[in-house]
């Protein structure tokens, strides 16, 4: 069985049963609803049956653009069962961010919720490939194109698996940001599930009675791989919470739901640590066995906080959208060195490469590369084969991260090898933010860089010059931040906007981000010989 949708709903390990709770959903008011593996199978079958009615050339992209709801899980798995490619989008994406992604991989069907419907209806004219917008919260279909999800889930769309899904068939689409160009569509195949499950078992080492919570949004690769596929494929009960991060509420959920395995982001842990001593005094975390983190490096101070205040070990993990599953991690049974992201998983062979492509010395910073061939390695960037090929050298995938390895084989993240900004574990393209800001009538030029931040690892800083006749003001700064938030997403909105007289560029017009970054940090500007004369 290689279809991920089937694996997650029908191949539950023999020591569990279809009446085992797959998902315990916690609403914003903290009331809970439980969904068994059997329910998940039935509802995802209805989605698959609905989608199967509309066959077309492969691959066909089915999107979910919705705040967190329990239905997301059935929709996603149903799409995969039907043979379509499933893609979950962040609900805070603005119009530009949506259109950029839809232009890469045109949608055939989009699932959404009623409050979000209007945003998508506004884009109808620009989405000729879109056959159906399926809306949760509609009692009835509004037209041939706008359908009610509630009707689909209550109808009898007969479906059973009657075809074999090849492991090489595209299954999942994620988007990732580059330092240049528009977002790239990262495709993963059904065969990736082997990596998803194996890495979950190796790193999290779950037991049948565990209660697991992956706090990542399902739109993030972590949320898809380790918040949907891996726990379901391994027959684990997981919880999900509809609300936003709140340290007190999250702590209460961990205690009351008896969470045993928690997978979250260092930014969350840093925010929790700020409440040190206030909310953890009377908390019973005795059921919580281990905490795992992903997205940004785990600071030693937060590792120590976990041991000292929570009495729990925090295990850092490393992977990327392109790798599809965890490649390097700390985990039980592997000695931990604070500051290290751990050791490679079984059958994963990383290497640190110099600029020239040779293997770096122990302790030398270089490009983190992975020997190709693991099952969840991405199969391509949609319609960007050159970009895909550029990620490989002599049989190794080049991650774009800089790292080093010590004499015991522990890996240490150092930074990015490009201009992509990692803020709270999300990659933000400076190009995407710059394009958005340039749409404002007041702005002449813009350069966007990342700068270190205590809470979010990196923050987004925008430098702007103004057109003649415009003056700088706090209002204009807020206008820029709001504009990026609405057009791209709040995560991409600059934390600071700085007005400058000029944006440093080289003689061919490329923005010299190093100079902007160094000037912001008060560091020497470095080599300016290539800078354009003004």
């Amino acid at each position: 069985m290689t279809n991920i949708g089937l694996l997650c709903t029908q191949s539950i390990p023999s020591n569990t049963g279809s009446d085992k709770v797959a998902l315990r959903w916690i609403d914003k008011d903290l009331t809970t609803r439980e969904f068994t593996y059997q329910t998940l199978d039935q509802t995802s079958n209805r989605i698959a049956g609905f989608l199967r009615q509309f066959p077309s050339a492969n691959p066909e992209y089915v999107y979910i653009y919705s705040p967190r709801t329990p239905e997301i899980y059935s929709i996603f798995l149903g799409a995969l069962k039907s043979g379509k490619v499933g893609s979950i989008l962040f609900p805070n994406f603005g119009e530009d961010a949506l259109l950029d992604r839809f232009s890469v991989a045109p949608p055939s069907t989009i699932f959404t919720t009623f409050p979000y419907m209007e945003r998508l209806v506004k884009l109808f004219d620009r989405l000729p490939s879109l056959k159906h917008l399926v809306v949760q919260g509609l009692d009835n279909d509004l037209s041939d194109r706008i359908l009610s999800l509630d009707k689909i889930l209550s109808a009898d769309f007969a479906w059973e698996s009657n075809t074999i899904t090849p492991p090489t068939q595209p299954a999942i689409l994620h988007f990732t940001s580059g330092s240049t160009g528009k977002p790239k569509g990262v495709l993963h195949v059904h065969g990736a599930a082997g990596s998803h499950s194996q890495s979950f078992l190796e790193v999290f080492q779950p037991e049948p009675e565990d209660i697991y919570w992956c706090t990542a949004d399902p739109a993030w690769v972590t949320g898809t791989t380790y918040g949907i596929i891996a726990p379901f494929a391994c027959g684990i009960t997981q919880i999900q919470y509809a609300g936003q991060f709140d340290p007190e509420i999250w702590a209460e959920i961990i205690q009351n739901q008896k969470v045993t395995l928690l997978y979250t982001a260092p930014t969350v842990l840093r925010m929790m640590a700020r409440y040190d001593g206030e909310i953890y005094k009377n908390l019973d975390l005795s059921k919580l066995k281990r905490i795992y983190s992903v997205g940004e490096p785990l600071n030693p101070v937060i590792f120590d906080w976990g041991e000292r205040v929570l009495g729990k070990r925090i295990y850092d993990t490393w992977f990327q959208t392109e790798t599809g599953s965890i490649m390097i991690a700390n985990r039980p049974g592997v000695p931990i060195k604070t500051g290290s992201m751990g050791k490679p998983l079984c059958n994963i062979e990383p290497k640190i490469l110099t600029e020239a492509g040779n293997e770096a010395q122990v302790g030398e910073v270089g490009r983190l590369a992975l020997k190709t061939g693991w099952p969840s390695m991405f199969m391509g960037y949609v319609n960007q084969n050159d970009a895909y090929q550029s990620k490989f050298e002599k049989g190794y995938y080049i991650s774009g991260d800089l790292a080093k390895v010590d004499e015991d084989g522990h890996y240490y993240f150092v930074g990015r090898d490009d201009d992509v900004i990692n803020t709270s574990g999300h990659l933000v393209s400076p190009f995407e933010v710059e394009n958005s800001i340039l749409e404002l009538a007041e702005v002449a030029e813009v350069g966007v860089v990342g700068a270190p931040d205590e809470l979010t690892w990196e923050k987004v800083i925008a430098f702007v010059t103004l057109k003649d006749g415009h003056t700088w003001s706090k209002s204009l700064e807020i206008k820029i931040r709001v504009y990026v938030s609405n057009r791209v997403s709040p995560i991409a909105s600059p934390n600071e906007v700085i007005k400058v007289e000029s944006i440093p560029k080289n003689k061919s017009g490329k923005i010299l981000r190093r100079i902007l970054r160094n000037s912001y940090l008060g560091l020497p500007l470095g080599d300016t010989s290539t800078m354009e004369e003004r």
């Binding site: 914003k28 609900p91 805070n92 603005g94 409050p115 979000y116 609300g243 936003q244 991060f245 706090k474 209002s475 807020i478 931040r481 709001v482 938030s485 609405n486 709040p490 995560i491 909105s493």
Partner: protein
């Protein structure tokens, strides 16, 4: 003293919704796009609009639009 009507245009701009009508009882759950990140943008926009300044402690205590209104009025 400001009223909810004066706050409404700021909310409409920040959340890109020209039909939004905020009420004092509304919380982040009632407004599309009001998450922890856009909340900080909203705070900056309100600070600028009404020429006030909030502390982190004050921001953490906010639970509703009414709380925001009261906080702004307490500083005017």
């Amino acid at each position: 003293m400001i009223t909810i009507d004066l706050m409404n245009p700021v909310f409409r701009t920040v959340f890109d919704n020209d039909k939004l009508e905020v009420t004092e009882a509304m919380t982040a759950d009632d407004v599309i796009g009001w998450d922890s990140l856009s909340h900080m943008i909203l705070i900056s926009a309100l600070e600028e609009e009404f020429q006030v300044s909030f502390t982190q402690k004050e921001i953490r205590k906010l639970k509703s639009v009414g709380d925001l209104l009261d906080l702004i009025n307490s500083k005017l």
